[in-house]
């Protein structure tokens, strides 16, 4: 159920600000693609254009094409709500619904899609929590609020919530930046496991993390403040880290930059 994403000529704007410029790339299915680059280079913005979350911000808009297999996400016939059902997202800070129990958090997306039968919900909730490596820790307190979990557990809960609706693609926006090293490791293990099922795109600030979890890495950069972010290069992760084509990539990776 994983799909390939082909982006071509993508620009994103916030009001009058040109945030990212002319990005084209292919994201392979059943693999992990990491986006790295300095702060403000537009990698998170770019990620948000892949499930049309970018336009949630007032005044934001997008130009270009994002093909999910053979469908364009930005075609006029496409409903952004349906897109987000197919392209799931995990955020920088864990954001379980504070008023819902652990169970209800995971079941939220299913209920939206009209799943009402208790047995079916139970089954998928367990499946998703197991999939997020969280089942054993929470199976005795499914009725408790999700906000009561630790940060790392909350983030895995959010992943469970995202995969419960069985998306094609999973977008992760710096999913470990608010977590401690042990929780980070747990998420990285989980990513490793999820990539057999999903197309995963992860934005990260942590280059070791990119090197550890990803198959391919894309490096983004900006020419200066106020300039739009650009894709510098994308390649096999091993190649990017060992022998990048571009000097800017090498400078960034070896720490000679920002």
């Amino acid at each position: 159920m994983a799909k390939r994403i082909e982006i071509s000529g993508l620009h994103a704007y916030y009001g009058g600000v040109h945030a990212i410029e002319d990005i084209s790339m292919t994201v392979e299915p059943r693999s992990v693609t990491a986006f790295i680059g300095p702060s403000g280079c537009g990698k998170s913005t770019f990620l948000r254009t892949l499930n049309r979350m970018h336009e949630v911000i007032p005044g934001a808009r997008v130009e270009g094409k994002v093909m999910l297999d053979d469908e364009d996400l930005y075609d006029s016939s496409v409903d952004p709500v349906a897109v987000r059902r197919v392209v799931g997202m995990v955020f920088q800070r864990p954001n379980p619904f504070p008023t819902m129990s652990i169970y209800d958090n995971v079941a939220a997306g299913l209920k939206l899609n009209g799943v009402r039968r208790k047995s079916r919900l139970d089954e998928t909730v367990e499946e998703s929590l197991r999939g997020a490596n969280l089942w054993n820790e929470v199976k005795d307190r499914l009725g408790k609020p999700g906000a009561g979990l630790s940060g790392g557990q909350q983030q895995r809960l959010c992943i469970a919530r995202a995969i419960a609706v069985q998306p094609q693609v999973l977008l992760m926006d710096e999913p470990c930046s608010a977590l401690d090293p042990i929780s980070t490791l747990a998420i990285e293990d989980l990513i490793e496991k999820l990539k057999t099922q999903y197309t995963i795109v992860i934005v990260t600030h942590n280059m070791q993390q990119a090197a550890r979890v990803s198959d391919r890495t894309a490096f983004f950069n900006i020419a200066g403040t106020g300039k739009p972010g650009k894709l510098i290069e994308i390649d096999e992760t091993s190649k990017i880290f060992a022998n990048p084509e571009q000097k800017a990539t090498e400078d960034y990776i070896t720490g000679r930059f920002g």
């Binding site: 059902r85 954001n95 997306g109």
Partner: protein, 326 residues
């Protein structure tokens, strides 16, 4: 949260250590603190005095009263012997305010949702201001408008409701009119709309962006996002706002006094002319009140004071509960 309070205390402590010990400012500081604290205490005293004097001036009239103050429907404090009770007033006050709250809450919450989530962002504050203008219109003007304009149109609406829903006693009766408790409720609903919508808007503004995005990211429509992330978070705020509106409606005087025609006796047919509330009765009867009459009005005002106090305190408690949550 604890660390935040900690930081605040630390800042306060630093403040104390900083300025106060300096020699030169001491007398000035003392005088200034006394003035500030004195004003605060004056506020406390005013509240205490309100309760005390209302009780004190109500007692003689209550002693002279030959009817049961709580259960009697009649209001004849100027007669000899004086006979008066608050049953009709309490009925009119509670029913008209509750009805007003029922009408205004969905609309008020809807307005808040519109301004927070549906209107173009650039217009939001302007639209909020427009709704606040409803609160700036004085109640005497609502009364005038209610009498000259609204009640004329309410007659037809009341007839219609009576013919369709007449089998429900509240909408029943033979002669639906324009100066009814129902009309008063509609005027009250308009008057409490701004407070309900502004308090709801306040809590909607505080809904964490992260929750909104979480809902959208799992493929929620705008309404589903509101149902999942906004309404549960804002629930206590909306309830509290509705209750504050209720409290305000109960104490509202002039508009009700102008719209309602006084007819003695409790009438459960809300579409028929007649009815009275604590406040409207005070405004209407004061000019002709004798000594006992004034005492009786003060006694009824005391009851109104206590009821609104309880409603408001409960509302504040509900609104405050949200702050502990999350």
């Amino acid at each position: 949260m604890t660390s935040e309070t900690g930081a605040r205390t630390a800042a306060a402590a630093r403040r104390h250590a900083g300025g106060v010990r300096m020699g030169t400012g001491r007398a000035g500081d003392r005088i200034f603190v006394s003035a500030a604290r004195g004003s605060g205490i004056a506020v406390l005293l005013i509240m205490a005095a309100i309760a005390a004097f209302l009780v004190w001036k109500a007692i003689p009239a209550l002693q002279d009263n030959k009817a049961n103050f709580l259960t009697a429907e009649e209001w004849n404090p100027n007669a000899t012997p004086p006979r008066f009770g608050i049953a009709q007033l309490a009925f009119g006050t509670v029913v008209s305010s509750l009805l007003a709250m029922l009408i205004a809450t969905p609309v008020g919450v809807g307005i808040a949702l519109f301004i927070s989530f549906y209107s173009p962002r650039r217009l939001a504050s302007g639209l909020g201001y427009v709704v606040d203008l409803l609160a700036a219109v004085p109640s005497i003007v609502y009364g005038l408008w209610g009498l000259a304009f609204l009640s004329q149109h309410m007659e037809g609406i009341s007839r219609f409701l009576n013919s369709v829903l007449g089998w429900i006693p509240l909408f029943g009766g033979d002669s639906p009119g324009k100066n009814s408790i129902f009309t008063a409720s509609v005027v009250l609903a308009i008057m409490i709309l701004p407070i309900i919508s502004s308090i709801s808007r306040e809590v909607f503004l505080q809904v964490p962006r992260a929750n909104v995005e979480a809902a959208l990211a799992i493929g929620a429509t705008r309404w589903e996002m509101i149902r999942m992330a906004v309404l549960p978070y804002g629930r206590s705020g909306m309830i509290g706002g509705a209750m504050l509106g209720l409290g305000r409606a109960m104490g509202e005087t002039i508009a009700v006094a102008m719209v309602l025609t006084f007819v003695p006796g409790i009438n459960v047919h809300l579409l028929e002319n007649g009815g009275a509330t604590f406040a409207s009765n005070i405004a209407n009867s004061f000019a002709e009140a004798s000594v006992t009459g004034r005492g009786a009005l003060i006694a009824s005002g005391l009851v109104l004071f206590v009821i609104t106090l309880l409603v408001n305190m409960a509302a504040r408690a509900v609104v405050a509960r949200r702050k502990e949550f999350v």
